[in-house]
Symmetry: C2
């Protein structure tokens, strides 16, 4: 069987890629990285480096047109500032149950649906992606939740004529557990990129930099992307 | 509330558009038409004419890159012939439970996911689409089935932070019942286009021409698109 892995060049999806390669072999894994109008292309370059490391085929897809009406702060066309808080702090500060300002509308749903169309054409029977429990906590990113994942898995299974399913190995893990899994697999985290800003080096201040550093710290190691910086 | 309608310019989605306009008013309806590498653009021009008739906003989206690896016979890059049979005949002639050759891999899933992303950005609370029971019969188009629709609705509801849902008013109707609904609403079927071929006039021979003519005949009227031709 072949597997298609949604690869963003970050910690979670790179660990998912490592799991897929371990199970199916690099010759049976295709990495798919999506542009959605991000403020920079650091993630895509990181994804490419990771695919090169594992020797898997790398495909790219540009879906930025779909988000051209969104005011999500991650998008190049947005005038909103990217918050300098961890997700937990953003959750505390926002009103009610609305997703955080870095929620790209139904991004994971769209990525999985696109991946499903491509996976069926490429003869893949499973799609891996790296959603984890920290991202869905408090409805920050509702398209990372187990409820969403279960429904989307069923939609893809039924809508593909029962040829394809989703594997979300971290949907009930926190980020520290994802990193623990990856450290065990020898994942080359020094190649990954998580920072929402597109500077030369990770900013160390945005939600994803903070949470990433904490996940490594919880495992007693320094984040290789921030080595010598913080 | 605002509604986004997936509009292909054909009978089913145009009838869904008519229902949405009746319920929400034309000023609260946005039509979305998707290019996916069709062999012709007749459908998109028909969708545009229908939107003009109803006075609703019309948006277009090009997703053809996603299907570039598919060998579906509907796509411009395919060398497969479009079958000259009704769906019922195609189902009889195919082996096993595989979708028919005109199944575009996970097309409805991808269209709905794209529509969900755009609907959230545009402030819509519901997506209408025209899937009906004839299309899902015998797993011909598994992404038209009630099972798919239920799961995709749940995925979009959960993945949007419970802000958005799907309305598939025909999912348990056959095409003749869809046409009956539309005739009652005065739908301008003469503006619609269904034929898989891109000729000056509908071919009258492909699966969709045959099934469309039969749906009108079952209501005792002639298909306005084929008037004077068959």
């Amino acid at each position: 069987m072949k597997a298609l892995v949604l690869s963003s060049g970050g910690v979670d999806s790179t660990t998912a890629l490592a799991l897929a390669v371990e199970k199916y072999g690099s010759e049976n894994v295709v990495a798919l990285s999506v542009s959605y109008g991000q403020k920079h292309d650091k993630e895509l370059r990181a994804a490419e480096a990771v695919a090169g490391y594992y020797g898997v085929e790398q495909k790219f897809l540009d879906l930025s047109r779909i988000f051209e009406y969104s005011d999500c702060s991650l998008l190049a066309r947005s005038t909103e500032e990217i918050p300098e808080e961890s997700y937990a702090e953003q959750l505390e500060h926002r009103a009610g149950e609305a997703p955080v300002s870095t929620y790209v509308p139904f991004r994971n749903g769209l990525f999985l649906a696109s991946a499903a169309s491509m996976a069926l054409s490429l003869g893949c029977g499973v799609i891996y992606y790296g959603a984890h429990a920290d991202d869905s906590a408090g409805c920050a990113y509702p398209d990372c939740s187990p409820q969403f994942n279960d429904a989307m898995n069923e939609a893809i299974y039924q809508g593909s004529g029962r040829q394809l399913r989703i594997e979300a190995p971290f949907v009930n893990m926190n980020k520290a557990e994802v990193v623990k899994t990856g450290l065990g697999l020898g994942v080359p985290y020094e190649l990954t990129w998580s920072c929402y800003e597109g500077g030369e080096e990770p900013c160390g201040k945005c939600g994803t930099c903070i949470d990433r550093a904490a996940a490594f710290a919880a495992n007693g190691v320094e984040d290789p992307a921030l080595l010598g910086r913080v």
